[in-house]
């Protein structure tokens, strides 16, 4: 590698960005996982009944992103073939070592919950089909065709318990990602106890936003009507979480600036001169302020809005917030590496290339895979419930 263009004094080993685009999309993907799961829990645990149309979609969406969550890491590792060392000999003083365990537990939990929600449709499919398809769905049903009212009731209760357990699991899964950055004391931009909390709230923001976008797109493609009450409720939750996220993000910077410690010399320069476009422009003004206003209209002026207008505004705000959360990940991960640990110099600005191992094409492929999974899933087991169908995943009354 050739020496890079730097300004100020950069430690000789600090010339290049070590954590690239892959490490930007990794927290982005896990954030979507955690956020989408929280949406499904709002229905299953917190009994937000108007969210019923997106209960299944958000849960399966969470799984879809969970399945690709390890891919950016594998694409990044110097030795992906040794990735399992992390579970064989985990070094527990490292936040990263917990990844294997947290990921596995969460994966089991989500798969188990989805399986229970879809058990009845799976059994119906197994009964209806022939050949390989029948064998496949019979295996999925584990050979038990019990759809009696008593069995369904057991399922509903188990789902509620799992969804309840899933909330702390989702929070740990993503809080841990924030902790991975927040615990690096060598880096003044990352090293703050606020970091896991910021990550968690922006994760929920991105999850709700993704569910809004997915839901409206799915309904358009299937020719169904979009539930206005559902979108309204999602918009309200989104407004709340987006506002808290933006507040926390600003608080972190304001605290650093006000303390005027050594770190601010380098972080201030970083924000105002190195990444003003992606931080002030995209993350703060375009990504936080505009959706705040748009969702404010939806929440505060709901009486004056027609369904299509509300849906469109919410869709737009959700889409912008998805970009905002991505830019936040970018600014934290990449921004935190632009300055050298000498604290008096900056590295070259990082622009990912189109075709490289950790490049844009890889990132796009990883981001598209969950949608392909969702489409496949939807082909066999619908991601939405028809209104007549009795919901196996409905909250129990007790």
């Amino acid at each position: 590698m050739e020496p890079a263009i730097t300004t100020g004094y950069v430690f000789p080993n600090d010339l290049h960005i070590m954590w690239s685009l892959m490490i930007v999309i990794y927290p982005y993907v896990t954030g979507l996982v955690a956020g989408a799961f929280i949406v499904s829990s709002l229905y299953h645990v917190f009994q937000q009944r108007e969210l019923r149309p997106v209960a299944r979609l958000s849960m399966v969406g969470s799984l879809a992103f969970l399945l690709v969550a390890t891919m950016p890491l594998l694409a990044h590792l110097g030795h992906p073939e040794r990735a399992l060392n992390i579970v064989v000999t985990p070094h527990f003083t490292s936040a990263m070592a917990a990844f294997g365990m947290i990921y596995t537990l969460y994966l089991i939990l989500v798969i188990f919950e989805i399986w229970l929600v879809y058990r009845k449709p799976i059994i119906q499919l197994a009964r209806r089909s022939r050949g390989f398809k029948r064998w496949f769905f019979a295996t999925l049903a584990l050979g038990v065709y019990d759809t009696s009212e008593r069995a369904m009731q057991v399922d509903r209760r188990t789902i509620t318990v799992l969804a309840g357990l899933g909330i702390p699991a989702a929070c740990i899964l993503h809080g841990y990602v924030g902790f991975m950055f927040g615990s690096v004391k060598a880096n003044p931009l990352w090293s703050t106890p606020l970091m896991p909390i910021i990550f968690l709230f922006s994760a929920v923001t991105s999850g709700i936003a993704m569910v809004i976008v997915l839901y409206q797109t799915l309904m358009k493609f299937s020719g169904k009507s979009i539930s206005g009450a559902c979108v309204q409720s999602l918009a309200q939750w989104l407004w709340l979480f987006a506002t808290i996220t933006a507040t926390l993000e600003i608080l972190e910077i304001v605290t650093l600036a006000y303390e005027r410690s050594e770190e601010w010399v380098v972080v201030g320069e970083l924000i105002t001169h190195k990444i003003p476009f992606s931080f002030i422009g995209v993350q703060m003004i375009f990504g936080s302020l505009i959706p705040f206003l748009l969702l404010g209209i939806v929440v505060l002026m709901r009486r004056f809005l027609t369904d299509p207008l509300r849906n469109t505004i919410t869709f737009l705000a959700a889409f912008i917030l998805l970009i905002q959360v991505f830019s936040m990940r970018w600014n934290v991960v990449i921004g935190g590496q632009i300055f050298s640990k000498s604290m008096v110099g900056f590295r070259e600005l990082y622009v990912p290339r189109l075709f490289e191992r950790e490049g844009i094409v890889t990132a796009l492929a990883i981001m598209i895979l969950p949608f392909i999974f969702l489409a496949l899933f939807n082909h066999f087991l619908p991601l939405y419930e028809s209104d007549q169908e009795e919901a196996p995943g409905a909250p129990t009354e007790t």
Binding site: Y9, G78, P80, H91, S94, V184, A186, K341
Partner: protein, 272 residues
């Protein structure tokens, strides 16, 4: 700080492990010893200072629990020749544009402006300064891994590939390292890098392959001004331990509480 605390008692490997370790060295290191002791001719002996007594080191009798290494850099003596950087590169096969050790040049003007540079890590020494300011003081600061006692890099390694050896060094197990570069992020001193060929973390080992055979680290050996000193806290009458015990010494970034085992003499507030 009381010095006794620094010298830890014999740590984990008990007698059995020690014997095992010695056996390991017999098997793995003696092959190398044969290689470097070409024919009957002995090429290596210990450091010039105590050369008469010490037989050529083969590493066979090395016991890591009986050592506790420290390093001392006297900044006031450094002339920035870069001999240490070049010696390190040759000794450890360090890839281009990466550094296990490097030298920084600090130039301070009367107004307090500080200009720092380290062209190619000081490998090719330094060109004449070109800041144009009225420089009132200037000095060179050699850097290596600080081999911290409370090190963030080992703490953050997810697989136990980075570890602190019983003799107090921070080393990397190239066969376990997954190349996540978390340790590179964690090191506040910029001492680590990802090796472009092995794709694993790489760093200063204080020339572990030399010191276990009674030789000095290559950078210490190469220094014409005795800027760099290598010591062992568990050795009686150790020069470096004595200086650290009786003189004012400094460490880098003390506010991060990494407890470096690389000490400095003569660094000022400008040093990063």
């Amino acid at each position: 700080m009381p010095r006794d605390e620094k010298v830890e008692p014999v740590t984990a490997p008990e007698a059995e492990d020690r014997r095992r370790f010695l056996k390991q060295f017999l098997m793995k290191a003696s092959g190398v010893a044969v290689l470097v002791v070409a024919g009957e001719k002995v090429f290596f002996s210990a450091h010039a200072a105590d050369s008469e007594a010490v037989p050529p080191g083969t590493g066979e009798d090395y016991d890591p629990t009986r050592h506790r290494y420290v390093y001392l850099i006297d900044v006031t003596k450094c002339i920035g020749c870069g001999a240490c950087v070049r010696a390190c590169e040759r000794e450890n096969n360090v890839p281009k544009h990466h550094f296990r050790t490097w030298i920084e040049r600090y130039m301070v003007s009367r107004t307090g402006d500080v200009a720092i540079d380290s062209p190619n890590g000081g490998h090719d020494s330094f060109p004449p300064e070109v800041t144009g300011d009225d420089i009132t003081k200037a000095f060179f600061v050699p850097k290596i891994c600080n081999h911290c006692t409370n090190t963030p890099c080992v703490q953050l390694c997810p697989v136990g590939a980075s570890f602190r050896s019983p003799d107090g060094l921070i080393l990397v197990d190239e066969k376990r390292c997954i190349g996540c570069s978390y340790c590179v992020q964690a090191c506040p001193y910029g001492s680590r890098f990802i090796h472009p060929e092995t794709h694993t973390a790489s760093k200063c080992t204080l020339c572990y392959h030399r010191i276990t055979k009674g030789l000095l680290p290559a950078c210490v050996e190469a220094c014409p001004r005795a800027v760099r000193k290598f010591g062992d806290m568990k050795r009686l009458k150790d020069e470096v331990s004595e200086i650290i015990a009786t003189h004012q010494v400094q460490i880098l970034k003390p506010e991060l509480y990494t407890e470096p085992n690389c000490y400095y003499i003569g660094i000022g507030k400008e040093v990063r």
